[in-house]
Symmetry: C2
């Protein structure tokens, strides 16, 4: 049994034209012996956003802290702590921070794609 706190993991930071202010951490993945699915935590700083993209694997997301929104079919849907979001394979999506504090969410993917 492995136990970690996310703040003890050094984040990988993403900043470019397509993604801003994103810090990603693998909480449970292949290196821990997880063979079926991988748990990551993403932290979007104020005004931060993930890329608007599509891929053939699903996301199971749970909002941990902060305020944000998810892009769905042309609209931004507000998200708050306690919300779960299921994004199916091949569905366009993007996340953004709409508040003043870090927007943090858990995102689980199946094994196979890059973990970060």
């Amino acid at each position: 049994m492995g136990i970690k706190k996310f703040t003890d993991i050094e984040p990988t930071r993403f900043d470019s034209d397509a993604v801003k202010g994103v810090a990603g951490r693998v909480l449970i993945g292949k290196a821990d012996g997880a063979e079926n699915f991988c748990m990551r935590l993403f932290e979007l700083s104020k005004d931060g956003f993930s890329p608007r993209h599509t891929h053939d694997w699903e996301h199971e997301i749970f909002i941990y802290s902060g305020q944000g929104a998810v892009f769905r079919n042309g609209d931004w849907i507000p998200l708050e702590p306690g919300c779960a979001v299921f994004i199916t394979g091949n569905e366009e999506h993007q996340m953004k921070n709409t508040g003043d504090k870090p927007f943090r969410f858990i995102c689980i993917i199946p094994a196979g794609p890059p973990e970060l």
Copy 2:
């Protein structure tokens, strides 16, 4: 894309000699089209605990709110929000609330076993 807040889902309650004060909710499962893994949220009331048990599938857990502990190899390990716990298949485990407020955590399992 499906979006839910956990408080909008009616919980299934568990109370017996082996389990006390546990409310379980499926956030993302088969009924949502999730074919590979299932996200549940468990809420343990004050003094609540899950059963001490073993099964052949893994858990990927993330602590959302409250204070609790997990039973590992004869010891209780404290848990707080932001902690991730990876319980491998066939590893004995149990969760309990050690605080005064509800202890809530996300628990992801592979598809196949009962969702609750």
